[in-house]
Point group: C2
Chain length 448, copies 2
């Protein structure tokens, strides 16, 4: 992979020895995103000095890509002029992302120094709820009119394109800002300059509403291989666009959230190391308490069968294997179902189809485990009855585990809960209860 890197030490050394010219030359060859990453390793008191050395053209882009903490420190050190320059150069959606992370006094300073037009656009996006399409859109899109010729359109792009985040997809709107169609620069380039936008535009438009869930919007972009999707309000007026780079971020964030939920961690936006020990604690303790109390149920069932394992202590030694196998069988099923629903491959109306599949899989899996384990127990303990108990228990445990693993996530979705909470940890606790009950029932029936 070709990515130019410069070490933090090198940058600090040049900064220390005040070789600003060399430093600027070194930075010039780097990608703005790599420069932004450099900033996170620079001591706080040097941040502003380094920022002022950056090539003016790239400064706003580099600023956009920085950690929130670095941005906040810089803003506090900025002159009013510097602040104004950076804000006006940033894309509106990036400015909003930043503002959402800033303390109130910094936000008000930013808004005070923004142009009235910029301020209006920022406030427009800020009003949409978190996780909505409106909150991740940008209002800087390229709009065209139906009666323009392609030549007119190119002239307009040349004149106003500089400040638009995406110019390749243009949106055709009427006098009421209602979305009429979309036209790509590709189509414009590949047809003759005399045709009008109205003739060229595609009127079958895939769009989203400002209040749609951002995850759904990101998935639509991915599904239809779009580079941007128009966002309209309830009156079908165009208010912004969501671009593919932001959609990728949403897709990655949502996957991370699912991983966290499925591991019984309360999702959290910050990265692992940026999250404090106390916050990690707060994210992890709630589910541990819930699960600890539900796993006590298993204990209560075991207490009932005290006589059984007093008579045959070996029953206790085989318990973890049965519980773990049940738990693992169940979490295989639940993970496949949860992920399948997340990527739209499994739908709620396919419940019985899924149950039927899991039932057949569980028969095969249960039978294999039962045979191998039955034989092993017989060889180890020379106890035929015990090996039959274990074999039968395994078949039933696996079956119950797979059916619960398949049903609970779909039930959760049906109830408009997040299926991801039905993953391994909660499922294991529930499967434990049934495994232990099945086990001792069968054991007392056959052996006592």
């Amino acid at each position: 992979m070709e990515e130019k890197k410069v070490s933090t030490e090198k940058v600090l050394e040049l900064l220390q020895s005040r070789k600003f010219f060399d430093l600027r030359n070194t930075l010039k060859d780097l990608n703005p995103i790599d420069i932004a990453n450099l900033f996170s390793d620079i001591p706080e008191d040097k941040l502003l000095m380094l920022f002022r050395i950056l090539p003016k053209d790239d400064a706003a882009e580099i600023f956009t890509e920085m950690d929130t903490d670095d941005q906040e420190l810089l803003i506090k050190g900025f002159t009013d002029k510097e602040l104004k320059d950076v804000i006006e150069e940033m894309y509106i959606d990036d400015a909003v992302d930043m503002i959402e992370e800033m303390p109130a006094n910094v936000v008000s300073r930013i808004l005070r120094h923004a142009d009235p037009e910029t301020r209006k656009q920022i406030n427009e996006i800020l009003k949409y709820p978190d996780d909505s399409a409106g909150s991740i859109m940008t209002t800087e899109y390229m709009s065209l009119k139906e009666d323009m010729s392609i030549q007119d359109a190119f002239d307009r792009i040349r004149k106003t394109g500089d400040e638009k985040e995406d110019i390749y997809t243009c949106y055709v709107i009427n006098a009421n800002r209602k979305l009429q169609g979309i036209v790509t620069v590709r189509d414009m380039l590949l047809s003759s300059n005399e045709r009008t936008i109205g003739e060229l535009m595609e009127t079958n438009i895939i769009s989203a509403n400002t209040t749609d869930d951002q995850e759904a919007v990101a998935k639509t972009l991915a599904k239809y291989d779009l580079t941007a999707i128009p966002i309209v309000d309830n009156d079908k007026r165009l208010v912004g666009i969501v671009t593919v780079d932001d959609a990728i971020d949403v897709i990655q964030e949502e996957a991370t959230e699912d991983f966290e939920k499925m591991a019984a961690v309360v999702p959290h936006e910050k990265s692992y190391f940026d999250t404090s020990v106390l916050q990690h604690y707060k994210n992890r303790i709630p589910w541990l308490f819930v699960l600890m109390f539900s796993s006590m149920m298993t204990g209560i069932i075991i207490e009932h069968y005290e006589e059984a394992f007093k008579t045959l202590p070996l029953l206790v030694a085989l318990m973890p294997m049965l519980m773990d196998t049940g738990g693992n069988s169940g979490s295989q099923a639940s993970t496949l179902i949860i992920r399948g629903m997340a990527v739209d491959e499994i739908h709620l109306n396919e419940y019985f189809k899924a149950v039927w599949k899991e039932f057949r899989v569980s028969l095969l899996v249960g039978a294999s485990l039962a045979i191998v384990n039955g034989i092993r127990i017989y060889i180890t303990y020379k106890n035929l009855k015990l090996s039959i108990v274990i074999a039968i228990t395994l078949v039933f445990c696996v079956m119950v585990a797979k059916l619960l693993g398949c049903s609970l996530p779909m039930l959760a979705k049906r109830l408009h809960l997040d299926p991801a909470i039905m993953a391994s940890p909660l499922l294991t606790t529930l499967v434990d209860v049934s495994s232990v009950w099945i086990y001792f029932q069968i054991a007392t029936m056959i052996m006592m």
Copy 2:
């Protein structure tokens, strides 16, 4: 969300009553991807009839988006002419994706009917290993020369752009096809037509090698917000590009694979319902066997403490709670570490930083669980010694679980294994062993 849909029933009805004109009109308004999805619900014997009704312009794109099974059926029914038309209209990377899923006789028929130039390009991509950048790239990119004027470049795009997958990023190559720079249509549109490509092009290029891992390439695209990335061979000659839509697919597939691995399922490319019962069995049984045998370790430890739980059977009833809590604490840590490494937020050289964080979190978590549970046990059983045993055990179990959960994925990565295999199932089995051992050690020390 605005997506036009037509029901399968409607399509079948129009097809049945041979209202082909109405059917074509109905389909005309749909997105090609939605039409492709329709095909998967159409009976096999009607597929070819429906395909022949499609508007000619969209047929190849719709074909591209279909399930492999439908594609195979159609190809078998195609005339030579139809096959040739479709193959020539498809983008090379899509054609390769399809060919990779086809049986040998279908592949050879496809290659026989492709143009010599198309065949050469297909074979070029086919030679790269699965999961490499080469295997997902397309060879249909827009190339320019350094000495062209922008006007020349636009002329070239107009002439040849129709068959290129992406025209917005153009690649400047020299006579030896070495990559000199990249220039975007945006920059070309926003500057004057007399300037040359050489003046305008960006020479700090982020590129990837044909043999780079596709996941790494997709992440680079995401990191730098690119819509395409050039792929070069070992001599730095440009051989293709990877576009953002394919990168999104890779990101989603890799996340799905991680979910599967973390649930002890052998990853599998097909969707849940497209995977046969037998294949589901094959994907799930290997890890279940491994985990079943490792969980027997826990049983062996329990056998050692037979006397302890014969004297105090309550010890057995509390075992599942301790094991589950240990397992869940551990999988919280391992999931956060595995996902953190997957999205490049945690690096191997930060091992001690991670351990230190987990250690402090485990103290807080362990202490909270110990206090609450100690009190509960005392109230329930009026047994102070037992409640002390449980409290101390919880602190140690959580600590061991979190440290293992943090260390094992990083160790796996260090050994160039996939960290995802160290997730919940395997970890739980390992944590079980230590939890049970810690528990009975402390119990015998304090109570016996």
